[in-house]
Amino acid sequence: MVEASKSAADEQLFELALSEEEKLVLAKVADILRKIQFGTVVLVVQDGKVVQIEMAEKFRLR
């Protein structure tokens, strides 16, 4: 069976061979990015692991 060609993103993901933990972090970040239009997301890393995600959103009101 011919394998469908991978996108650049799929290739990168494949090559990284993400751990379960890494997948969780990326899923959470993707979730946040879907919800915010303008803002800042900060990943706090300790001992090579993301221990906290902080974010600030900005809304224009006028």
Binding site: I32, E54, K58, L61
Partner: protein
């Protein structure tokens, strides 16, 4: 780790009745020269129970007028100010205000001032002393209970005012530049204490502070509402999801401070341009 991430990145859940609500609120006020001006220009926003919101804006933008309406000290000219869905018609024990000047009664001791606050909200005499002493201990003034206000530093007086305000167990704490008259150290201490009390109230208490200090607003608030110069209207809202106690050097906080500064500079420029065009 997964849990920590989950909690922090959560958006606030769908609101029940907001604790405080403003709908097209217009407040007029008298200036020192006697003319009547529009302080706020159809303000509309909600504050959910348990939130800590800071109103940020230049002097004269209507923050004080707005807080006076919420405190029940001033009636709106038009629009509505609601507490738990009901129009605010006057002051009440459910709201306490922290002003820039602590306004402690000079003829009462520090303890006496806190007890008076409790008496005014109907706490029976038997309970007042205990509650007052407990709150003085909370703000680290227990050894100054019998002192007169003039013996205290400005920061200590404001801590006493904070104890007086919170001892009465209000649902809402309103602050009008409460730390504006304090030196940097006292200001920092009070900011930490206020955060501690708010966190300790476990989503039961709602805090709404007005300030023109960008760093303070970002340090304290879940949401920062940036107001224009008078007549004040809302320009932008910043929602900050970062744990407390917060550090001004924290990357996220520093970025938000920077963004707000940029916004305020733009607003000043626009305001000047409008003036010149007249």
């Amino acid at each position: 780790m997964a849990d920590a991430i989950h909690t922090l990145a959560e958006r606030p859940s769908a609101p029940a009745e907001p604790k405080l609500a403003l709908r097209d609120l217009v407040v007029m006020r008298r200036t020192a020269s006697g003319e009547t001006i529009t302080a706020t220009d159809r303000l509309t926003f909600d504050v959910a129970q348990g939130e800590f919101v800071c109103l940020l804006g230049p002097s004269g933008c209507g923050k004080t007028s707005l807080l006076n309406v919420l405190a029940g000290l001033v009636m709106p000219s038009s629009g509505e100010a609601l507490l738990d869905g009901r129009p605010i018609t006057g002051p009440g024990p459910d709201r306490a205000v922290l002003f820039q000047e602590p306004a402690l009664f000079p003829w009462l001791s520090v303890l006496g001032n806190v007890e008076l606050g409790l008496e005014l909200t109907g706490v029976p005499a038997s309970a007042r002393r205990d509650i007052a002493q407990r709150w003085l201990a909370n703000v680290l003034l227990e050894r100054w209970a019998d002192a007169q206000p003039h013996e205290l530093s400005a920061g200590m007086r404001q801590r006493a005012a904070l104890a007086r305000a919170l001892a009465a167990d209000p649902d809402v704490l309103l602050g009008d530049e409460p730390f504006g008259a304090l030196d940097a150290q006292a200001r920092e201490l009070l900011q930490r204490e206020v955060q501690r009390f708010w966190v300790g109230s476990d989503d039961r208490k709602t805090f709404l502070f007005a300030t023109h200090n960008v760093r303070e607003a970002t340090l304290l608030a879940d949401r920062v509402l940036v107001m224009s110069a008078a007549p004040g209207r809302l320009l932008e809202e910043f929602r900050i999801h970062a744990p407390r106690p917060r550090d001004l050097d924290d990357v996220l906080i520093a970025r938000v401070v920077s963004e707000i500064h940029t916004l305020l500079m733009q607003e000043v420029d626009a305001s000047v341009a409008r003036e010149m065009a007249r």
